[in-house]
Amino acid sequence: MNISYMYSLIAVIVLFLLAYVGVNFPGGEVFFGIIIPYLALIIFILGFINRVIDWARSPVPFRIPTTCGQQKTLPWIKSANIDNPTTTGGVVVRMILEVVFLRSLFRNTKCELKEGDKISYEWEKWLWLFSLTFHWAFFTVLFRHLRLFTEPVPACVELLAKLDGFLQIGMPGLMLSGVALLAAVTFLFLRRILIPQVKYISLGSDYFPLFLIFGIAFTGILMRYFTKVDIVGVKEFTMSLVTLNPHVIKGIGGVFYVHLFFVSVLLAYFPFSKLMHLGGIFMSPTRNLANNSRAKRHVNPWNYPVKIHTYDAYEDEFREKMVEVGLPVEKMIAPETPEEPEEKE
């Protein structure tokens, strides 16, 4: 049994029980509904900012973009202005493509050794596809939640919800994003345990967020379609949080608190985990720099002088040999002795 995912699974189950049972204790609703969410949000915001500031504190001494296309040189050679940008505009487009469409992951190939002695590198689209689905679904779900935190609800949130529920199946209408999120998380988990190489590199901290997000999506779907949570009550409660006038509403149900607790844990966990890739990608020097280091000097703030072997020291060591073969020198050899040996060469 793989301890990494067992422990992560157990951790998520414990979290589930903690909230599910805990909320029934006196003060449980205040604790899980008010204290924990506020605390988590504060940890998230401060932690996130702190991490980004910490990264920013280290300079970028060298301009080291990974160039993924033709450089800009001679005017008649077509350059790849996005994959190998030379301008800030190009870098911005490159970054947008990375963040919105996972451009680099789209390149993914799968290497296979074939019988005989062939090696193939086939385009591997599934990770890209499911990863894209996962992130977009996550974003959509998150964005739709704004309806709980705004009054009146902005038109764009309503619109997205309409698009999301365009299938119009069931009552309440099925939201595509929730299902997609669950499916994508399941895929990402399965690939972690089924692809031997990915399994080998996976840590507990890779499984944990997957289980947690699965838990969030699962309890969400449970509330919406099965336990049919009192949505009016929930809205009243969430608005009370937003307006900083928090009070609990009776009878919302245990599943809701589990959902909320999971989200809180995710928020608090975020700044200390790999989930910080959300911020990190924007600060990755191989992706956020223009490839113009020969045209424009990049300055290293800590550039310090180093010891070098000067030409003078070099000539001092080799002067005689240089003169012998007719290489020009700065200082001629002082003619201390009559120069006969020259003739012999």
């Binding site: 301890i3 390149r107 020097p285 072997h309 070099y314």
Partner: protein, 550 residues
């Protein structure tokens, strides 16, 4: 040296499925044929790097300084504070595994610790343990928890593992192309090697060339008189082949430009033919257009093995380029065919040793082209320069003299992924050769595979590693060899020219290796030359030999 397995044996042994046991529980097994020999203490001492001593990676005791952990830990902290790249790369990997099968060393060896992500985890695990809050808190609960979050303490085993696998990465950056965040394992390797150097753990194939370069100006330790002798020798060969006597100039003050290329090309075949190619091109430009190019014996090395040691050592070696350009009073610098040399020039030189305000903005006086892309560093790549000459029809070429060759082109990692120099060499090749075939798309351009011996790994004792790492490139060559009859692999890198012949001989013996300017010179019609009956390798040109009246 250990016995090198036969190619089919090596190939059939590769298994990409890792063993069931976790990587942290699998101790490092330092194998002959894979590991490189330790640095010679004399070389370490010569350049003033710490802890020179006689040691061997195959010994139990590496004779480390007593406080080595402290040194590493302090060095790690310093580098986190100096390089945002390292800090971010340590924090944001999601272990998606997209980089895993992109590394030629993993593809060729199946050793899971050669997956870029795991190579990085070797350091990241220690980072988590020593430098992150989460790692410290969770780690303090117990050993099991440490392992679950991927943290571990630095001990001798871990150090040995670092050493073994950091010298199985050729800093090629292929993984970085595929990583959704651009995490560059090369950057992590560079930093890791820097740490190892703090306690005197380099390999000799890096330490000694670096020391040579420091002293004599080039990796091979060729002294100035010998350097000139070699070139004179090439001039004789050229005269024999073409009937024209070329006279390269050295250390000449007031020349138009300074030319710097890797010294490997002056020393070993087939690079020597590329060197002859440069000499012929420069002679042509001098005769036809009065363009005066000088070579330097002081800055006689373009390559920079300091780059494989530390940022500081890189700067110390690189400094000679600008220093010499300044001393000679040239207008700008032209750089020869080399991979990592160009990574250093393109991404580091101006920042480290610039500004080069004593030089002029590079302009080709022959075509009038301004090299806008190089106006700060003032250094132009020779294929940029030659492509421009050809585009403006400034070279007399007889392409039929390359008709006996079916050529493909290997992008070297550094010029492809650290620069984006992709079209220029292709343009030159296609204009001097009639038979050109590309290798499959997933193995060229920004997805190119390393020769397998980059970043100082082209030693003799690690031949098995080199053949493993060389497999993906060689396999793609084999593909075009079988499909189109390709018999010549061209490249613009001196390490390639040193390393690929061995890998070709092992995997695809029918294919030879050449530099691009050897092909140029084969085709280039020198003013006043006689009828050529052979190419630069003195091999008869088909269709020409029968007129030979001997």
């Amino acid at each position: 040296m250990s016995e090198l397995p036969k190619p089919d044996e090596l190939f059939s042994k590769i298994d990409h499925r890792p063993a069931p046991k976790g990587w942290m529980d699998t101790p490092v097994d330092i194998r002959r044929g894979i590991a490189c020999y330790a640095s010679n203490p004399k070389s370490v001492e010569y350049v003033g790097l710490p802890y020179p001593r006689q040691w061997s990676c195959f010994d139990e005791d590496w004779q480390l300084p007593e406080n080595w952990k402290e040194i590493i830990s302090k060095g790690f902290r310093e580098r986190l504070d100096r390089f945002r790249s390292i800090k971010v790369f340590m924090d944001i990997c999601v272990r998606c595994g997209a980089c895993a099968d992109k590394c030629h060393f993993f593809i060729g060896s199946g050793d899971p610790k050669n997956m870029p992500v795991l190579r990085a985890e070797l350091l990241r695990s220690v980072y988590r343990n020593d430098f992150t809050t989460a790692g410290k808190i969770i780690g303090s609960i117990g050993k099991t928890f440490k392992k679950i979050i991927g943290a571990r303490e630095l001990d001798l085993q871990v150090l040995k593992e670092w050493w073994y696998y950091l010298f199985q990465c050729s800093e090629c950056r292929r993984c970085s192309v595929f990583c959704p965040y651009g995490i560059d394992t090369a950057e992590i390797t560079i930093m890791g090697r820097e740490l190892l150097n703090l306690i005197g753990l380099n390999i000799d194939w890096i330490a000694t060339p670096a020391a040579n370069c420091y002293r004599t100006g080039n990796h091979l330790g060729i002294q100035p008189h010998a350097y000139k002798d070699m070139m004179d020798f090439f001039a004789d060969d050229i005269e024999e082949i073409t009937g024209v006597k070329v006279e390269p100039s050295f250390n000449k003050k007031g020349a138009d430009i300074l030319f710097i290329t890797p010294s490997g090309d002056v020393f070993a075949d087939p690079g020597t033919f590329t060197c002859m190619g440069y000499m012929m091109l420069f002679h042509y430009l001098k005769e036809k257009y009065g363009f005066d190019i000088t070579w330097s014996t002081y800055a006689s090395e373009g390559g920079n093995f300091g780059f494989f040691t530390s940022h500081e050592m890189m700067k110390r070696l690189n400094a000679k380029m600008y220093a010499e350009a300044k001393r000679l009073g040239v207008k700008w610098i032209l750089g020869g065919e080399c991979g990592h040399m160009w990574r250093v020039i393109h991404q580091y030189m101006d920042t480290m040793n610039g500004p080069a305000d004593f030089l002029e903005d590079p302009v080709s006086p022959i075509t009038g082209t301004k090299f806008e892309n190089a106006k700060s560093t003032k250094m132009v790549h020779i294929t940029e320069f030659t492509a421009d000459l050809i585009k403006h029809d400034k070279l007399d070429l007889d392409t039929s003299r390359n008709d006996h060759l079916k050529v493909t082109y290997h992008d070297s990692c550094n010029t492809a992924r650290g620069m984006g120099l992709l079209e220029e060499p292709r343009y030159v090749i296609k204009n001097v050769c009639n038979n050109f075939y590309e290798m499959p798309a997933n193995t060229i351009r920004e997805q190119t595979f390393c020769c397998g011996s980059g970043s100082g790994l082209n030693a003799g004792e690690n031949m098995e590693l080199r053949m493993q790492g060389g497999l993906p490139r060689a396999n793609a060559v084999k593909y075009v060899h079988e499909k189109h009859g390709v018999n010549m692999l061209s490249c613009i890198c001196a390490i390639d020219r040193a390393a690929l012949p061995a890998s070709m001989e092992y995997w695809v013996p029918e294919v030879d290796v050449t530099g691009v300017h050897e092909l140029v010179a084969n085709a280039l019609i020198l003013p006043g030359e006689g009828k050529r009956t052979t190419d630069l390798r003195s091999e008869p040109l088909p269709g020409m030999e029968d007129d030979d009246a001997e």
